[in-house]
Symmetry: C2
Subunit: 254 residues, 2 copies
């Protein structure tokens, strides 16, 4: 399959490497910043372009992996292509593409990517959607090549998933950062708490989180809850978060 | 070292197994419930007792691993012993013991334990404290046998650590549970989000969380934030949590 990749960010980079490793032919990488396009293109033996007018028109698949609010603009430049055009966004409707191009789809990897950390695509859930069954079959086959978890989800479900991901990823990471803030203010290093973070995540690999909740709130241990709240009087924002989340945990007891 | 263990819960069980594996001699296990005492005692070839009057008086170390509010009562039964008496609590002051017994200490493993999941003690940070230097040396040597991370922390620092642990463990687990609630209400399975949870924790093993924050709040992506909030109108408690944590993430941008 001849693929053109539009974008050079974290998702584009990890996806390009995974596809290349499975023998897919990524012929072009587009970025408005030519240096960024080249950095990625060189990794996968593709051509780098910074002008949408230079895009090859005969590819089988166009993967748009740019910021959500740039998807529509980029799609406009693919009006004439006959290949399938997909985006990789959790929150963007497929109609954003299908109103502009002939064949539209979604290829959304549910994961948190960083430039510096390698990750095996095999374990990344891929959520796919397409404007018709033939295109869905194409995407499904491609997804199965690089991931063991492929889900066919419509836009509504994908948006729900993206919202759940904020609770399961972005918020926990921020709570790790707040824990680090508390530690640092008291001369303690983040290192001390890393094993606890690892085990907390590991526990829910085989259990449902509601069955393995621990801590003072789920024990309704008001004495500890009050001690903790009073330790946070100089950090009202953290105090508010502590109260809000503890109350929410206590609601599960009813 | 002859050890008497008072308690038979998760911490007591994991600690007993780790000590036994390193050749320590746990002679007795006490629990007010004889069956519970026996279940653990049988695993480590110890005697089970359910009466505090039956405790051996000549052990080198007494480990009190019971609920926080029962520590003082249990300690009262160890008034006459000459061995070192420690508790395993993150939030309880050493004075709770030292006012009752001759030699007091703390032996606090910073981890979340469950009955059903085995865990290697080697990677569990052990926080120790003692009423004098000789006892600290004893605890330090014992801790180093079962863990690679031993920290000497006074009560104030240990309490800070326990508070940080709530942010790094109990709250993230509850957020996993809320993510699962959102998924279930929309016919999606928790399985789909497990790889994301694993990667989010794994990322901060080599990074500080504040350096790897992702999601709409840290991008100040108001359009997505508003969409998510409107998806949560039927779940006002989750909407409140979403708003509170997103605001807190945005504060880090200033």
């Amino acid at each position: 399959m001849k693929i053109v990749l539009l974008g050079s960010g974290n998702v584009a980079t990890h996806l390009a490497k995974a596809l290349k490793a499975k023998g897919e032919d990524i012929v072009q990488v587009y970025s408005p910043n030519l240096n960024n396009a080249k950095l990625l293109a060189d990794l996968i033996a593709a051509e780098a372009v910074d002008d949408l007018d230079d895009l090859k028109q005969n590819a089988d698949l166009y993967i748009i992996s740019v910021k959500d609010d740039a998807i529509e603009t980029v799609a406009q430049s693919l009006k004439e292509v006959t290949g399938l055009v997909v985006h990789t966004s959790g929150t963007t409707d497929i109609n954003t593409l299908s109103s502009a191009v002939k064949k539209a789809g979604v290829f959304y990897p549910l994961q948190t990517f960083s430039k510096t950390k390698d990750i095996s695509f095999e374990n990344i859930p891929l959520c796919i959607e397409a404007s018709d069954g033939d295109q869905l079959a194409i995407l499904s086959a491609l997804a199965a090549k690089i991931s063991r978890q492929v889900y066919e989800l419509d836009g509504e479900k994908r948006k729900v998933l993206h919202l759940a991901a904020v609770f399961a990823c972005n918020f926990p990471n921020h709570l790790y950062a707040l824990a680090n803030k508390i530690l640092n203010q008291n001369g303690l290093d983040f290192e001390i708490i890393r094993p606890l973070i690892a085990e907390t995540a590991d526990k829910v690999m085989d259990n449902l989180p509601e069955n393995v909740q621990t801590g003072p709130a789920v024990r309704a241990d008001e004495s500890t809850l009050n001690k903790h709240l009073s330790m946070l009087t100089t950090m009202p924002e953290l105090q508010n978060i502590y109260q809000t989340l503890s109350n929410s945990i206590k609601l599960t007891l009813k």
